[in-house]
């Protein structure tokens, strides 16, 4: 299931929780782990002056500096590295999202693990509710699933025995479903197929009656049976659930109720222009709020 894992880290506390998950996954599933750090962007092409990603300062890129950064990474993850059988540390210079995507392609990664933060610092994360630009860019373009750990409580991994697959019935969700099913099958996990009926957008100015809502819940259930249950190929350890409400709230609540280890979703977006599109707002909010890692799937390539 997970043979090649790329753990993209800034080596800052924001990635500590993602590190816990990445190292545990590698140990538990016998995967090769590549700890990957992009230390900065060149001030101009081929320049030896680099803008350090974390400090924003210009530094001269020489062997001493590279050794220093590698040593810092080794110190940061010393405990985990000691327990990881197959792990390498790489530091490169470049634009973070491009280098992460390039590294994932090079190593044929099954999964990219990242921490999540927003563009600002401190408590504004939840006020803004917007994930960082690197995560956005990587998640949109990655060929493999991207696993994000945003909160300390989302990092309690310890294996996967309960997967929540959240669907909006979009085409992108088909890839996410295939991944969730494959993961549930290979990891021996329970698969919860979940749809949140968005009652805020069903009738913008008219409140739906409860009969109408419940009718739509029944229709969504039928749709899940036709679209997903019919394609489970003999897999029987599953449940189907449809709740009404605000989708990201309901998915987070459902995962909490089920004590899920993993949420799998497609990052669907209504924006057609790929340059302007962010990952879907629902998956973004789920990433920031969930109590377990969130794995977003965009393409069928690595499934």
């Amino acid at each position: 299931m997970f043979k090649n894992i790329l753990f993209a880290t800034s080596a800052s506390p924001a990635c500590d929780d993602a590190a816990r998950v990445a190292f545990d996954m590698a140990r538990r599933y016998g995967a090769r782990l590549r700890v990957f750090h992009v230390l900065g962007a060149p001030t101009r092409a081929f320049s030896q002056l680099v803008v350090d990603m974390r400090t924003g300062e210009e530094v001269s890129l020489d062997d001493n500096y590279l050794d220093l950064v590698r040593e810092e990474l080794k110190t940061t993850y010393a405990k985990q590295l000691a327990e990881c059988a197959d792990c390498t540390i790489d530091t490169v210079v470049g634009f973070t999202h491009r280098e992460i995507l390039r590294a994932a392609r090079e190593m044929d990664a099954d999964c990219i693990v990242m921490g999540a933060s927003d563009d600002s610092e401190g408590p504004r994360t939840y006020h803004k509710g917007v994930t960082g630009s690197t995560l956005q860019r990587v998640a949109k373009a990655a060929r493999c699933p991207v696993l994000t750990v945003a909160r300390p409580s989302a990092s309690y991994w310890g294996g996967v025995s309960n997967i929540v697959f959240g669907t909006d019935f979009s085409r992108a969700s088909d890839s996410a479903f295939r991944f969730a099913l494959k993961a549930a099958r290979e990891l021996g996990a329970e698969l919860n197929i979940f749809h949140a009926l968005d009652i805020s957008s069903l009738a913008s100015s008219v409140a739906l009656s409860q009969d109408e809502i419940e009718e739509k819940v029944i229709q969504a259930r039928d749709r899940i049976r036709a679209k997903y249950v019919a394609n489970l190929e003999g897999f029987t350890n599953y449940e189907v659930e449809v709740w009404e409400g605000v989708p990201y709230v309901e998915i987070v609540k459902f995962a909490r109720e089920k004590q899920a280890d993993l949420i799998v979703m497609a990052h669907n977006t209504r924006e057609l222009d790929p340059e302007r599109a962010r990952i879907g707002s629902t998956v973004e909010q789920v990433i920031l709020r969930a109590n377990c890692p969130v794995l977003s799937v965009n393409r069928p390539d690595k499934i």
Binding site: R151, P152, S153, Y156, G158, G159, Q259, D261
Partner: protein, 117 residues
């Protein structure tokens, strides 16, 4: 009959420390080294309260808690989380109490007394 406290922790020093602490305070104890074997011990020993570590080698605390909460006979056993990790209150949301290592022994004992007695 003395109330029984079960200690689930992979660190033998912590198990010994808590066993002595509870035994000296008049409780019976039993223990398990990780979540994987803990449910069997619960079934055999039927404790009145459980102290639970989060990060353990095979099966982590939240996973054990989930299994426990699926057992109608045992789901109401109060669980006290004792962990070195942060934000453990979100890992086991229905825990009776949460303690971070290092913890205050008197505070822990007072909490256990309040829950069990």
């Amino acid at each position: 009959m003395a109330k029984k406290i079960m200690i689930i922790d992979d660190d033998p020093d912590i198990v010994t420390y808590l066993t002595d602490l509870f035994t000296d305070s008049g409780y019976a104890t039993c223990s398990a080294a990780d979540g994987a074997q803990a449910l069997d011990v619960v079934k055999a020993e039927r404790p009145d309260c459980i102290t639970l570590d989060i990060e353990m080698p095979d099966e982590w605390g939240p996973r054990f808690y989930r299994k426990l909460s699926q057992e109608p006979e045992f789901r109401k056993i109060p669980v006290i989380v004792i962990s070195g990790l942060n934000a453990t209150k979100y890992a086991v949301p229905k825990a009776a109490a949460n303690f971070s290592k290092p913890f205050d022994r008197e505070e822990l004992l007072a909490t256990v007394r309040q829950i069990v007695d």
